[in-house]
Amino acid sequence: MPLVPVPKPTFTQKLKRFFMVDLLKGMAVTLGFNIGALTDKDSVAGKGIYTEQYPKVRPDVAPRFHGAPRLNMDPETHDTLCIACNLCALACPEDCIDVIPMDVEVVVAGKPRRKKVLDEFIFDTSRCMFCALCQEACPTYCLELTQDFELATYSRAGFVWNREMLEQGRETVKYES
């Protein structure tokens, strides 16, 4: 084992030691935070309160935050924007999306045609890693990851969202003070 080089203390260092400058510095830090908590409003740059009163005060999530998925609807007709193209399911690296289409009979220009429309949409949030590749793949801006982050449920089955949940949003008990 080599000798550990500990430099000899200089006169200033000895003086600092004698007057306990380091102790006073430490106490100044804690006192600064104590005063800052009572006066300073800027918590990030200053010495104010950093924590949030979560259920009482909703936190501001970052603009790039990805949360609960949602299937958007046409704001006027309230029909789904999804065209059941399956691009999101293909884009998903975790394979957590299942798009189940069905064929309906429609009459286009007097002729009967079959059209592929969305029947059911299964989104497994327990496997989702919120990369939002599905959102980028969607050609109609239908599937979107919102900023809602309260996804906890009581069972594993609760993590699997169906079309209704995706369109209407999941029912959660909101905190009321």
Partner: protein, 445 residues
């Protein structure tokens, strides 16, 4: 005027009580009972809110908010905590010594609360009883608290509790010595053991003994923190090592009694430190503005507030230090107690004795006038005060010098010694050691 009437309550109550009881009963039974009731209630409430304050201050120092949910700003949190503790199960571990286990928390609380009887919270009716051996009483009774910790640790039938109790008893015994010795310096100037007498000595001199006794104050404060088992000296309840120390096996109300004892002991130490070194209820100009103009009750109440403010500042220092300093190692703690605090206290006594002798010797023969009167403490003139304060400041440097002389071989708190210690024992001296190069075993393919 209603405020003044309220402040004049004692004389009003006195006349009311005299209608029903004899004068002796009123003076020696009724009034003390009222005072005791008030002090115990206020201290218990204060102790409850000290926990709240501690949580709040620690939260602020960590940029948190602390308890916020019970009541506005969490102000009802202590009450909620108390109710929760009352409804908890009173658990007794298997094979515990039941009776000692039951009695230990009560000893702790009683030992902590009795001391409040002699603490002078203010002049006149703001002190329960003025015992003429007050300081001795405080030291004697507050050290009974150690017994409670030992009993609690021993009776719990748990290794953590026993270890915590052993640690705390060793710690409290070793710091008790330097604490008692540190007080002597202040007593040399006060010339009395009565706590009220100490305050009066400072008031008549219009000086705080902190100026005469800076070293004594520091030793008393450090020893007091160690005596109360508070951080950075909270080894008996070091969470990371001993679960919760001596009260590991306690739950519910008995546990809260230990907590109450700890916080009351804190209040007691701050009160005694205030009395001995910070002038107690004395504050400049208060007497001249109130008592001299005839407002006696105002004088008492203002003095009471002054005392509480000083003690509160010291209490804040407790919380402040707790969140600034890390915990000492056990050998460092013992080192600090026996190798640094005890010699410092002895040096303080010697220097103070020399200072008092010098002041007395300079008084008559040389024509210098240093002593005003000896009626209340050592009444000094301006030149006497200057000499005493100069001795106090010189004492700071002298103590530091002598301590570093004594401890030049000691490892802890001594970087020079540590530098020589960081070296393998087997290595020859002076030869620069080389780390042995690990040879790669050739058997490996």
């Amino acid at each position: 005027m209603s405020v003044l009437a309220l402040l004049a309550a004692p004389s009003f109550v006195d006349t009311l009580l005299l209608k029903f009881f004899s004068e002796q009963t009123v003076n020696y039974v009724i009034w003390p009972l009222i005072q005791v009731g008030l002090v115990v209630t206020i201290t218990a409430g204060w102790v409850a809110y000290a926990t709240y304050l501690e949580r709040k201050i620690s939260a602020f120092m960590q940029a948190r908010l602390g308890p916020m949910r019970v009541g506005p700003w969490g102000l009802l949190q202590p009450i909620a905590d108390g109710l929760k503790l009352l409804t908890k199960e009173d658990f007794i571990p298997e094979n515990a010594d039941r009776w000692i286990f039951f009695v230990a928390p009560y000893i702790a609380v009683v030992a902590a609360f009795i001391v409040l009887a002699v603490v002078p919270f203010g002049p006149d009716w703001a002190v329960i009883t003025d015992v003429n051996i007050g300081v001795l009483f405080v030291l004697a009774v507050s050290s009974v608290g150690v017994l409670a910790l030992i009993l609690a640790g021993w009776s719990s039938n748990s290794k953590y509790a026993l270890l915590g109790a052993l640690r705390s008893s060793a710690q409290m015994v070793s710091y008790e010595v330097s604490m008692g010795l540190a007080i002597i310096g202040a007593l040399m100037f006060a010339r009395t053991l009565s706590l009220s007498g100490v305050v009066e000595a400072q008031a008549s001199n219009s000086v705080w003994f902190l100026l005469y006794q800076p070293v004594g104050f520091m030793i008393f404060l450090v020893s007091g923190i160690a005596e109360n088992n508070r951080a950075p000296f909270d080894l008996p309840e070091a969470e990371s090592e001993l679960v919760a120390g001596f009260h590991t096996e306690y739950s519910g109300f008995r546990w809260s009694l230990f907590f109450m004892a700890e916080y009351t002991a804190m209040v007691v130490v701050t009160a005694v430190a205030t009395t001995l070194y910070l002038g107690g209820w004395y504050f400049p100009f208060v007497y001249r503005l109130t008592e001299a103009k005839g407002y006696h009750s105002v004088y008492v109440v203002v003095s009471l507030i002054v005392f509480l403010a000083k003690a509160g500042l010291l209490l804040y220092l407790y919380f402040w230090l707790r969140w600034t300093l890390p915990r000492f190692r056990y050998d460092q703690l013992m080192d600090l107690g026996w190798k640094w605090m005890l010699p410092a206290a002895l040096i303080n006594i010697v220097v103070t004795a020399i200072a008092v002798t010098v002041i007395q010797g300079l008084d008559n023969p040389s024509g210098m006038h240093t002593i005003k009167s000896l009626s209340a403490g050592l009444g000094l003139t301006v030149s006497g005060k200057v000499i005493a304060i100069a001795f106090g400041i010189v004492n700071l440097f002298l103590t530091a010098g002598v301590l570093s002389l004594i401890n030049w071989r000691s490892r802890d708190f001594n970087l020079k010694k540590q530098r020589h210690q960081i070296r393998l024992v087997d290595l020859p001296k002076g030869k620069p050691a080389v780390a042995p190069v690990e040879t790669v075993s050739e058997a490996r393919p």
